[in-house]
Symmetry: C2
């Protein structure tokens, strides 16, 4: 039987940073990630959703915890120019990903991931996907619970569970 | 010289759907993508950012235009149970992706993409990334401008431009 999902990846060493209320107009993303790149901050996920009538939206990204201070100091330097409402950072967060292939044609993969987390009462804080990966950010305390439940849900356990 | 970025992918046949103000608590993502999967709607990107004190957030996803009607009718069925503020759909949207490898360790890739789009006055509506792809949603009218500018920015043009 061909497995669509090949594994569960997780990274508890990430920090989630959100710039609240950034203006939604050309040049804003560049003004954030340009300086971060110049400071050699390795950004992992970037997630931005649409804006509403207020023409502002949130910009969330993750960095390794080791890069958090440098990232925050870069963002500090943008305070006046950018016009956002604030920055919030969270270190007790884990990125959990279901890794597979051709997931666009397999909507059941995301369904299973979300249902499994829901079943364990785990809140999904952020979602970002690609054809080969469905990634979420969850509270760090739920890491082990989430990873075990997902292994079971996708039939990835080494042996049958008792 | 080793190319980090191998190509620009774009898909103008996508529709962007946003559920506005979904409650941010366990089970909500499952209650959206479960029924979509059951209706065999092939979902491409899923993007969800954090919630604020109001404990609600937006859920955006894309589908092929051919799946739009079916997706909207599934969401219609969720109206009462889910408690969201509304659904908005947009068909004149293109997903543009910079495809490469090891992009977490190459923050300059996202910087270049965002600066290139900014330089052409193209607004970035949604961002979602993985280690091998930085994807954005832009207005469909900007597709050709964006794709050409990105090819040039990453040195992917077939011949030198005049
Ligand atoms: C919010 C941010 O992505 C903005 N829309 C930009 O184009 O840079
Ligand atoms: C918004 C949605 O992702 C919700 N937090 C859930 O866990 O399902």
């Amino acid at each position: 039987e061909q497995k669509i999902v090949s594994g569960i990846a997780y990274s508890p060493d990430e920090a989630k940073i959100t710039l609240l209320g950034v203006p939604d107009r050309p040049g804003v993303a560049a003004s954030i990630f340009g300086p971060l790149a110049d400071a050699a901050v390795n950004v992992d996920m970037i997630v931005q959703n649409i804006s509403h009538e207020d023409q502002s939206t949130d910009m969330t990204f993750t960095v390794g915890k080791a890069d958090l201070d440098r990232a925050m100091s870069v963002l500090d330097g943008l305070k006046d120019e950018l016009g956002h409402d604030g920055v919030q950072a969270e270190t007790n967060v884990t990125k959990v990903s279901v890794v597979g292939v051709g997931m666009r044609s397999q909507p059941g993969v995301a369904k299973t991931m979300f249902e499994t987390l829901a079943d364990k009462g785990i809140n999904i804080e952020v979602i970002s996907t690609s054809e080969i990966k469905v990634s979420v950010l969850i509270g760090g305390d739920y890491t082990e619970l989430a990873v075990r439940a997902l292994h079971t849900a996708y039939g990835l356990d080494a042996e049958p569970s008792d």
